[in-house]
């Protein structure tokens, strides 16, 4: 990790992106004081991250892969974390347990990956800590629970909590984040507003044709058309697809493949691979 400076503000959902090995988890572990920076310092609301008794009063954390004490039930683990943690809204916690459909009377050893993640999510969202650090928190959740999670993130933001969300899921980031940072090879590549990213979003389209390549010059929303050879043409589409599809209809097109680029690709595409 080098030269990383990030500011996250109250009432903001901050997305944290990057390819595997970019240093996302390392950053989070430094924020938690589990590892130390070789130089420089990490501060959480002005407290040194290594001084966890102070720094951890300001935060709650959900790891990517939640491990729990197998003999304790979900309720017992929530109790332990509430009593040692930075304070909990018990009524809201009960509500969250209901929304996530979590069975608290089972021992953690019998929980699936998703259920273990729910325990950690309920414990984190129920705190009134000003910062929630979530490291790929929904990898084990089904789509319905993903919706419950997004609602909880929005509620936390509306309460004025800052949410630091490391995620690979484009939809999730687009749905809840206000700003996004991307990390490459241990360096911060860029920080951008979500609205700005939406403008950058382009769909990659590859069409197969039989005779001559479709001529898409001047068609609205089409950029960067390129003949890939062996009867395939690629272009990027932004905005509504209607004009491009109508234009393609006039040619002998035998197939259309459309691919949504990942947020990282959009980012890197826009800011250049050489960052």
């Amino acid at each position: 990790m080098q030269d990383l400076t990030l500011d996250v503000f109250p009432g903001e959902v901050f997305g944290f992106l990057g390819p595997n090995g970019a240093g996302k988890s390392t950053t989070i572990r430094m924020m938690l004081g589990a590892i130390r920076p070789t130089s420089g310092r990490v501060q959480i609301f002005g407290d040194d991250a290594a001084d966890v008794r102070r720094a951890h009063r300001h935060l709650a954390y959900v790891p990517a892969d939640v491990a729990l004490w197998p003999r304790l039930t979900g309720a017992e683990i929530l109790e332990l974390l509430a009593r040692t943690g930075p304070g909990v809204d018990v009524a809201y916690r009960t509500e969250l347990v209901g929304r996530f459909g979590l069975d608290l009377d089972r021992r953690a050893g019998t929980y699936s990956t998703g259920n273990r993640q729910k325990v950690a999510l309920v414990a984190a969202f129920a705190t009134r800590a000003p910062l929630l650090v979530l490291d790929e928190p929904t990898s084990g959740l089904d789509p319905l629970m993903e919706q419950v999670f997004r609602a909880a993130v929005v509620e936390a933001r509306d309460r004025g909590q800052a949410v630091f969300l490391s995620s690979h899921l484009l939809g999730e980031v687009q749905a809840v984040c206000d700003r996004v940072a991307i990390l490459r090879e241990g360096r911060l590549a860029e920080v951008a507003q979500m609205a700005e990213l939406r403008r950058l979003r382009r769909t990659e389209v590859v069409v197969s044709y039989v005779e001559s390549p479709p001529d898409l010059a001047g068609v609205a929303g089409v950029q960067g058309a390129e003949d890939l050879g062996s009867g395939r043409l690629r272009f990027f589409l932004s905005g509504a697809p209607g004009p491009a599809l109508r234009a393609l209809g006039g040619f002998g097109v035998t197939g259309v493949e459309m691919r949504e680029p990942s947020l990282e690709e959009i980012f890197l595409d826009y800011y250049g691979r050489g960052v």
Binding site: I35, V52, V66, R71, L81
Partner: protein, 548 residues
């Protein structure tokens, strides 16, 4: 447990001829690699001890024991209880087997239990089997392979013991019978632990069940040897059967056959259960639902206490039973040694001075306490690193609780628990001695037990030190002052090593309380070493990067 019926849900994977064989070979190789280091240590100790003792017998004891002395020894219930019934003490091999047979069988048994449950339940519990079982390998095949590897390791240990005794110059047939008996005891405990690993769904529960049975059979053996009319009990315990083989005296075949019953029955039972159960499940276990039990969840210290209570109760029960028995024997051992000077001399030469008086006897027996109390302490500290390795403590570490506080909580609770074990042992010895009218005051008994606490402190210090600087080896480094120190002292004394060699062991610096006053100076030195180790270890733990 899946409720669907039929073979389809029971065992994952279809079998494909050659691939399956290759998979099994690979699994065998993996199991061999997982146990070879521990097996080598057990082999060196089990083969080395009898060789040393047999060699020493020739130089020291040979010719000292005559007929009446042997008769007195063989018929004394206390001696029979502690060391098993002696036979062929006039022979180097017979003496060696009597002196080392039970400790070696316990060592091999404990290693077999701990290693078997680690491979057969620990690996499954931690999810490491998921990939293996995705291949063309059935659960029961995997279990069988690992049982064969472990049984093979134990047989090699038995063969090494036999070979060492032959090399030491004892009769080959006696050596073969003892080696075979020891190997069969070990295979029996492999089979027992394999079965408990199928029955329970957690490694801790499977290990506790097997270890509990091991301790219970040891106590039954002691009672059976000590109480007239109950001698038939030796036929139902592996330790009794091993003694009944009477190597160098009778070389009995029937007890050896008896020792084969347990491995076959338990091993088959383990495979039957393995073929019928689901992966990640046991027949019993922690599957039930229950409402929250919130006791002691309010603080880190409370939580550490709560997690340790079960194991403490198990340790305390074992320690209580053993020292109660020792207390009950106090009168008859001391009377025996008072009546038989020759044995008093021999006991003294073997490092057991002062056995002739009740306080001296109590002090000698209390020195053994360093072993369970020290290992208990190291095991409690090792939990800090185990929590880190399994990532269980990640959520707790994210709360405003410092690492130093977590380590201190474990250290304090471990120390309290260990001193509690010492007190339990003192009270047990007092209770037993009082029941038989041997003069031992409660303060003397508890004081004598607590006088071994420097060993506990050293174990605590080294365990904390390892937690900070070498977290992979907390349990072994933490147990070193107790287990290593004890073995060092026994071997050094048995071989007549010079004084400074003996004094490397912390056990050499324990005063024989209550026969004599406590050695405050030595205790202060050992306590200071422990405090410094704890401080350095805590600094290392607070400063180092966490594993996850």
């Amino acid at each position: 447990m899946a409720t669907a019926t039929g073979a389809t849900t029971r065992e994952p994977g279809a079998r494909v001829g050659s691939t399956s064989r290759a998979g099994r070979r690979a699994r065998t190789g993996l199991a061999v690699r997982q146990i070879r280091r521990g097996a080598l240590i057990v082999l060196v100790v089990t083969a080395g001890m009898p060789a040393v003792v047999a060699g020493q017998y020739r130089t020291t004891f040979a010719g000292v024991l005559d007929g009446p002395a042997l008769h007195a020894l063989a018929t004394n219930p206390a001696i029979r209880t502690l060391f098993g019934p002696p036979s062929a003490l006039d022979d180097a091999g017979g003496f060696t087997v009597w002196r080392t047979g039970t400790p070696l069988a316990v060592l091999v048994g404990v290693w077999a239990v701990v290693t078997t449950t680690r491979l057969l339940r620990g690996d499954e519990e931690s999810g490491r089997w998921a990939l293996l079982l995705a291949g063309p390998l059935r659960l029961s095949d995997l279990v069988a392979r690992i049982i064969y590897v472990l049984a093979g390791a134990v047989v090699i240990v038995g063969a090494a013991v036999g070979a060492a005794l032959i090399v030491a110059g004892t009769s080959p047939s006696g050596a073969v019978f003892f080696g075979a008996g020891l190997a069969l005891v070990g295979v029996g405990f492999v089979a027992l632990a394999a079965l408990t690993a199928q029955l329970w769904d957690s490694r801790a529960a499977a290990t506790s069940a097997s270890a509990g049975i091991l301790v219970a059979t040891l106590l039954v053996r002691m009672v059976g040897d000590g109480v007239q009319g109950l001698s038939w009990l030796q036929w139902v315990t592996p330790f009794g059967l091993l003694a009944a083989v009477r190597p160098y005296a009778g070389d009995e075949v029937l007890p050896l056959l008896g020792l084969m019953v347990a491995p076959v029955v338990l091993g088959v039972a383990a495979l039957v259960v393995a073929a019928r159960r689901d992966v990640d499940h046991g027949l019993f276990g922690s599957r039930g639902r229950h409402g929250p039990r919130r006791w002691l969840l309010g603080s880190v210290v409370g939580f550490v206490v709560r997690r340790g209570v079960r194991s403490w109760v198990a340790w305390a029960a074992g320690v209580f039973a053993y020292f109660l028995l020792l207390g009950l024997l106090a009168g008859s051992v001391t009377a025996f040694l008072a009546d038989n000077e020759r044995f008093a001399d021999l006991a003294s030469a073997a490092g057991f001075d002062e056995l002739g008086s009740v306080p001296g006897y109590a002090a000698t027996m209390f020195a053994l306490l360093g072993l369970p109390a020290g290992v208990f302490t190291a095991a409690r500290i090792a939990e800090v690193v185990e929590d880190e390795r399994t990532r269980r403590s990640v959520l707790l570490m994210a709360t405003p609780v410092s690492r130093g506080h977590i380590l201190r909580a474990h250290a304090g609770v471990a120390l309290l628990g260990a001193v509690g074990l010492l007190a339990v042992a003192g009270l047990a010895m007092w209770t037993g001695a009082r029941a038989v009218g041997a003069g031992l005051g409660v303060a003397d008994a508890v004081g004598g037990a607590v006088a071994t606490s420097p060993i506990v402190l050293l174990c605590l210090g080294t365990a904390v030190l390892a937690t900070g600087w070498s977290p992979q080896v907390v349990l072994s480094v933490g147990s070193l002052p107790a287990v290593g120190g004890f073995l060092w002292q026994v071997i050094a004394q048995s071989t007549g090593a010079p004084g400074w060699v003996v004094e490397v062991s912390p056990f050499a610096h324990l005063a024989a309380v209550p026969a004599e006053g406590p050695d405050w100076a030595s205790a202060a030195v050992m306590g200071s070493i422990a405090v410094v180790s704890c401080a350095i270890g805590t600094v290392g733990y607070v400063r180092r990067d966490l594993a996850h």
